[in-house]
């Protein structure tokens, strides 16, 4: 077990290193950098001023040097400075994390509390009309572009209540706080609830076909007891892995939803930073996202291994 954990940790580091290289190179093959954008905002280009500015920002160094500079800084906890705001990247990124984390947490809760029960119901009633209806609903959920869902929610909110949940860092009332987080979280969570439901349903079905369920049934256990005491308990295992898959899925949804709801979290910040070619922000944000995804997967695997003795500790 210990060797397995160490091995996984090392692989995790290798993965993160690879990501850092890829993202770094990818950003620098992009034609046009922050200096071009700054000059576009100033409406002219002056080669001398441009060269001067590139030198100031260290963009005239070789890619390898720039990379070493970044990684060296990261190791010391120094994320560099945002090219645009000229503030430390850490100061820009840190305050945005709790916002996105809250949103993601709520969305996950929403998706689990809707998706898991519906998935179980759908599996237990496999082949019935209820099952069909639930499957169609969940598939439609996955077929809706997420920005469209967000916009629909906003428009509905304005026409029904005459107001909409616009983000405010210091909500005055509880109801406002709930509205500004829960509504967007529902918009993201709706799609991941559909995903959760599908995965719960199939893992539940697989369990229901297992021998020990047949045994339980043969022994005369009640259907309810079979479904909820025996099957669900074991079906939860694969559902845990869903959380790992969803971490990545959720971030995609958050990018769009934070833009629609104008929430200043890290996902929208990534889009803006990309637009400005604000490399220090983009590369650190992508690394942050990668760390979250890799670490979630790692934790899920560990959890899985701890719960399920059948897992062999080899890759």
């Amino acid at each position: 077990m210990f060797a397995y954990i160490v091995r996984r940790l090392v692989l995790m580091l290798v993965t993160l290193f690879g990501i850092s290289v890829i993202i770094f190179v990818l950003l620098r093959i992009v034609p046009g950098n922050i200096v071009d954008i700054l000059f576009a905002a100033a409406g002219y280009v002056d080669p001398a001023d441009k060269a001067h500015l590139e030198h100031d920002l260290g963009l005239d160094q070789s890619i390898v040097m720039q990379y070493l500079h970044w990684i060296g800084g990261l190791a010391r906890g120094d994320l560099g400075y945002s090219y645009v705001s000229e503030k430390p990247a850490l100061d820009e990124i840190l305050p945005r994390i709790p916002i996105t984390a809250r949103l993601a947490g709520l969305a996950l809760m929403f998706s689990a509390s809707i998706g898991i029960p519906l998935g179980v119901i759908s599996a237990v009633h496999q082949g019935t009309r209820l099952d069909y209806a639930l499957r169609v609903v969940s598939l439609s959920g996955l077929s809706l572009p997420s920005f469209w869902l967000g916009l629909l929610i906003l428009m509905a909110s304005v026409s029904l209540f005459g107001t909409m949940p616009i983000f405010n860092p210091h909500p005055k009332t509880w109801s406002e706080a709930i509205a500004i987080y829960c509504v967007p979280a529902m918009a993201v969570g709706f799609r991941s609830a559909a995903l959760t439901m599908r995965i719960t349903r199939s893992s539940m079905l697989e369990i229901l076909r297992q021998d020990y369920i047949r045994t339980a049934r043969a022994k005369g256990a009640s259907e309810a007891s079979i479904n909820y005491r025996h099957a669900l308990k074991n079906a939860i295992l694969p559902v845990i892995t869903v959380i790992g898959i969803e971490a990545a899925f959720l971030i995609g949804g958050l990018i769009v939803t934070e833009t629609v709801f104008n929430i200043p979290g890290i996902a929208r910040y990534l889009v803006e930073a990309l637009r400005w070619r604000d490399y220090p922000i983009v590369q650190n944000l992508v690394m942050l996202i990668a760390v979250v995804v890799v670490f979630t997967n790692f934790t899920v695997d560990m959890l899985y291994a701890a719960i399920d003795p059948r897992i062999r500790y080899t890759d």
Binding site: R135, S140, G252, I255, A290
Partner: protein
């Protein structure tokens, strides 16, 4: 996992006939949702192929005299703010969306297959390297990677396809690798080896064909998400550029200005995207049931 033999699967499922037309009818009845999905997909494919025959207007031709016309006899789905026929744009948009969907899925899958096959079959350091590459690609959410890619490459049809294809690689590679590893242990591969077939030949003639089923299942499932990713990229301003009539852009841009004053500009592309994705999802589910009984759900 075993080689899929769906004839026996069919028999087990109670099919009376395992050949020809009646088999299809049996499958259609048994997988009603999947059949609906297939019909929707075929509808879109036909629309895309016969786009020029179906439309009465050039999707790019501007007519300032008939701008924002409501749906009617002449313009079935109305016209947009440029006076372009929305029906023609939706129909031609099917080409773009399917090109993006099928193109990027095919590209992503074929690279994934190559990596997966090489990884599973050759093992050793090749496997190790490819495994790490897929790890890396998998650690980045699809939209994040696609965003960075399109920002890097610039928005154009081939670039968007590439940007959406690359994030698809790791999933395909994983599945193909797992399949290949399982297949390698099977007797008929051993047999092929013992009669002196070359490794490459075994890989291509025996291993690859047997991974086709899971591949199709996976590819269909991803088709829908590629169309949605293009729509999201369009919304973020990085999708297929003008003048191509892309559903994603039609929806995201008209949603801003015309949702109330000319709702047909928003409703029809919205329906087109959702329906196309819904169809591929339904069909993908049914395919998984048929071709991959182990994962049946």
């Amino acid at each position: 996992m075993a080689v899929v033999n769906y004839d026996s699967e069919l028999r087990r499922a109670g099919a009376q006939a395992t050949h020809g037309w009646r088999r299809l009818v049996f499958l259609a009845q048994r997988h009603l949702l999947g059949t609906i999905g297939l019909c929707i997909m075929l509808l879109f494919v036909c629309t895309a192929i016969f786009a020029n025959l179906i439309c009465r207007f050039d999707p790019l031709s501007i007519d300032s005299a008939h701008r924002l016309a409501a749906p009617g006899m002449l313009h079935w789905m109305g016209t947009d703010s440029f006076g372009r026929d929305v029906w023609s744009r939706i129909v031609h948009g099917a080409r773009i969306s399917l090109a993006v969907g099928i193109g990027s899925t095919a590209l992503g899958s074929s690279i994934g297959v190559m990596i997966g096959l090489a990884s599973g079959y050759l093992s050793g350091w090749v496997d190790l390297v490819f495994q790490r590459v897929t790890d890396i690609l998998q650690a980045l959410p699809l939209l994040v990677l696609a965003l960075v890619m399109t920002a890097a490459l610039g928005p154009s049809l081939p670039n968007v396809m590439l940007a959406i294809a690359i994030p698809l690689i790791p999933t395909v590679a994983r599945v193909i690798r797992a399949n290949t590893l399982a297949l390698r242990e099977l007797p008929f591969i051993e047999a092929a080896k013992s009669i002196g077939m070359s490794e490459t030949r075994i890989a291509l003639r025996h291993v690859l064909p047997n991974t086709i089923a899971p591949l199709i299942v996976l590819a269909t499932a991803q088709l829908g998400s590629t169309i949605l990713t293009e729509a999201s990229l369009s919304f973020l301003g990085l999708g297929i550029p003008e003048p191509y009539p892309s559903w994603g852009r039609m929806l995201s841009e008209s949603a801003v200005e015309y949702v109330r004053t000319a709702p047909w500009l928003v409703i029809f592309p919205g329906i087109a995207i959702s329906l196309a994705v819904f169809g591929t999802n339904l069909f993908g589910d049914a395919l998984r049931d048929i071709l991959d009984p182990r994962q049946r759900g």
